[in-house]
């Protein structure tokens, strides 16, 4: 059966680099995942109140779209979308009363009972390619690059939807990188708090980047546009406030995958990253000199 692809709002503009590199890699790896022709914003966060159903409508609608397209799996790149869709899916599977009410409310849609499987792209690589095969397909191993996978929160919490605990590490190892694990790899970057509590948010991001600095990490690989914004785009603000935080280039994991697969520069989308990212790749001869 087929795989649907759910981009999420951010990937069409602010995180084009995540989408472009990811889709290029899917083509290179021969995996077919079709973007849903019709989708809406999933809401970015899963509603945590038991008496709130309206905020479950948005992600469930996307699951219905996937099911209606005949997909048995829905893959996504943005960790926040993954978390929201996966948890909404579990709600529709496990909670009979809420499933009934939501189906009743969405009277313009067909009923949904959790028929689709939500699978994050990293896990899709694991199941549909496999690390050994991926390693064999790598043209440009990320040799000597000390990279840490920054899991963040939404890929691994709560337990019901977590990806495998070493998923990122296994992925990076398959790319030939020197995988570094650091304790702050699952510490929150502050997520949406950058919107309203900038001071505390930069402090939270600093904790993560400080950990990366202490462990002499060359680059962070991540999967969430909000993490990339906090740890990448706003890194300069973090470093201005906290002098013990070093400069750590940040990448979307799919950009590193594209580099390793030897894909052309235009598939990498590096112009949207901070300058340090492209500079690092050039310095290590992983992409051609300017």
């Amino acid at each position: 059966m087929s795989i649907g692809y759910y981009p999420g709002c951010t990937l069409k503009t602010k995180a084009r680099n995540l989408e472009d590199s990811a889709l290029a890699c899917l083509r290179a790896l021969g995996i077919e995942a079709t973007e849903l022709p019709r989708w809406n914003c999933c809401g970015a966060v899963f509603s945590l109140a038991d008496d709130d159903l309206i905020h479950q409508v948005a992600p469930v609608r996307d699951l219905i779209r996937a099911r209606d397209e005949g997909h048995d799996r829905l893959t996504t790149l943005c960790s926040m979308c993954y978390n929201t869709l996966a948890r909404a899916n579990l709600l529709m599977r496990d909670d009979e009363e809420k499933r009934k009410t939501l189906n009743l409310f969405m009277d313009e849609e067909t009923d949904y009972a959790g028929e689709v499987e939500v699978q994050h792209y990293l896990d899709l690589l694991r199941t549909d390619v496999g690390w050994d095969k991926l390693r064999a397909t790598v043209k440009k191993p990320l040799e000597g690059l000390r990279i840490a996978g920054y899991y963040g929160c939404t890929l691994v919490r709560p337990r019901e939807i977590t990806v495998a605990p070493t998923l990122f590490n296994d992925f990076l190892a398959a790319l030939g990188a020197e995988v570094v694990d650091f304790p702050e790899s699952t510490v929150c970057c502050s997520s949406y708090q950058i919107l309203s509590a900038e001071g505390a948010a930069l402090e939270a991001s600093a904790k993560v980047l400080r950990g990366a600095t202490t462990h002499k990490i060359d680059a962070l690989a991540m999967s969430c546009p909000v993490c990339e914004y906090n740890l990448g785009k706003r890194q300069a603000d973090v470093r201005a406030k906290f002098q013990d935080v070093g400069e750590i280039p940040t990448f979307y994991f799919t950009q590193l995958l594209a580099v390793a697969l030897g894909l052309p520069l235009e598939d990498l989308g590096l112009k949207q990253n901070e300058k340090s990212s492209e500079e690092l790749l050039r310095a290590r001869n992983l992409i051609a000199a300017a």
Binding site: A44, L48, A49, M80, S191, Q193, I194, L195, A204, P225
Partner: protein
């Protein structure tokens, strides 16, 4: 000042509301402090999750709702995976947020977000923020 504790305050309307909305019982908390120790957003919080649980246990409705801390939560769920009693703390904090939001009090006005930040922020952050901070 003495805090009056009675069955009335312990089983008061706020505690009940929080239980209904979150499905969690704050009385399960035995004050170990693991949650507060794990919280990444303590930087600007006046009090942390542990104290809030304690206040809920003592029925201190007004005092709890006056705290900003619920709006500083990043929903990271670190407290939730670590709580030794398995309390879904993010749900309790969301209930506190929603009680105020549903009463019509927004924490953040969308028009107050600086335009240059609004322009550069990923949509996911704006959508999530408005969801948590506006009703």
């Amino acid at each position: 000042m003495a805090i009056k504790v009675s069955l009335k305050t312990l089983r008061g309307p706020l505690a009940r509301k929080v239980r209904e909305m979150s499905g969690e019982d704050p009385n399960m908390c035995f004050q170990c402090g693991l949650c507060a120790g794990s919280c990444p957003m303590t930087g600007e919080m006046e009090i942390y999750t542990r104290k809030v649980m304690h206040m809920l246990q003592l029925g201190q409705a007004d005092a709890v709702l006056a705290q900003r801390m619920a709006y500083l939560c990043a929903s990271c769920h670190t407290c939730q995976v670590r709580c030794p009693r398995g309390i879904d703390i993010p749900k309790v904090v969301e209930a506190l947020r929603l009680i105020t939001l549903r009463a019509g009090e927004n924490f953040l006005a969308p028009e107050a977000i600086p335009k240059d930040r609004l322009k550069e922020m990923p949509q996911a952050a704006i959508v999530a923020g408005l969801r948590k901070f506006t009703g």
